[in-house]
Symmetry: C2
Subunit: 140 residues, 2 copies
């Protein structure tokens, strides 16, 4: 099979194009996709996630999460709260300002992403989502 039909190659290429489009769309928010993804998780549950949980869910190294949370924290978008059950852990929670910024950024990110994915209709995107979800959760 030709290289350009290789699944690994296509995955890498498609991912790169979508990330680039999303980052371009996010530029006026001051966020990039990785920081955006941390902010999104930090804003969803009221209690917040530990940095370890964030690293696990996002597939990032814990040290990368430290930097991303530092960045978001400096911008006043999230804060580190002490965990009530574990004095080692810190829960990352979105601030009111973080939630406002997230609201705007989500619109931008979705639009940017769809600029590259609009060649697939709703059902095809659902199929893609289902297949990729299995790959991501497969232990390997």
């Amino acid at each position: 099979m030709a290289l350009t039909e290789d699944l690994g190659f296509l995955l890498s290429r498609a991912s790169g194009l979508v990330i680039r489009a999303t980052n371009a769309a996010l530029i006026e928010s001051g966020l990039r996709v990785r920081a955006y993804s941390v902010l999104e998780l930090a804003c969803v549950p009221p209690g917040g996630w530990s940095q370890r949980d964030l690293a696990e869910v996002l597939g990032l190294d814990p040290s990368q999460v430290v930097q991303l949370v530092d960045e978001l924290s400096s911008a006043g978008l999230v804060e580190r709260l002490p965990s009530p059950t574990d004095r080692r852990a810190k829960l990352v929670a979105g601030t009111p300002r973080g939630r406002r910024v997230l609201g705007q950024a989500a619109t931008l990110a979705t639009a940017g992403q769809q600029r590259q994915l609009s060649c697939l209709d709703e059902e095809e995107q659902a199929t893609l989502r289902s297949l990729l979800s299995r790959v991501v959760h497969f232990p390997g």
Copy 2:
């Protein structure tokens, strides 16, 4: 929709996992995926591709192709040949040794990739390939 079901997130995560698995499998060949992809294209047609063509097909910057070809050339796997029609251009062609190494590396790369993709059967992989191919070729 939850972040972990977002198509951009899933694409990025799946791509990262497959690339990591492929690089791990390729380690004994001394290649990584990007160099491997250049070697593969250099070995396919007898005449070779210009570096510009390689950059275009692989979605890389021309300056990245220079470095990858330098690397493969130092290892004796490809050579730069003068283009018969354009004295500016150089055609990148695989050497006999390059074709031997490619043969071994292809087996390793396929096995590594399938370690992460084996959760999808043949038909599902074909579906995924078809959807991703459209995303990659969509002008955006």
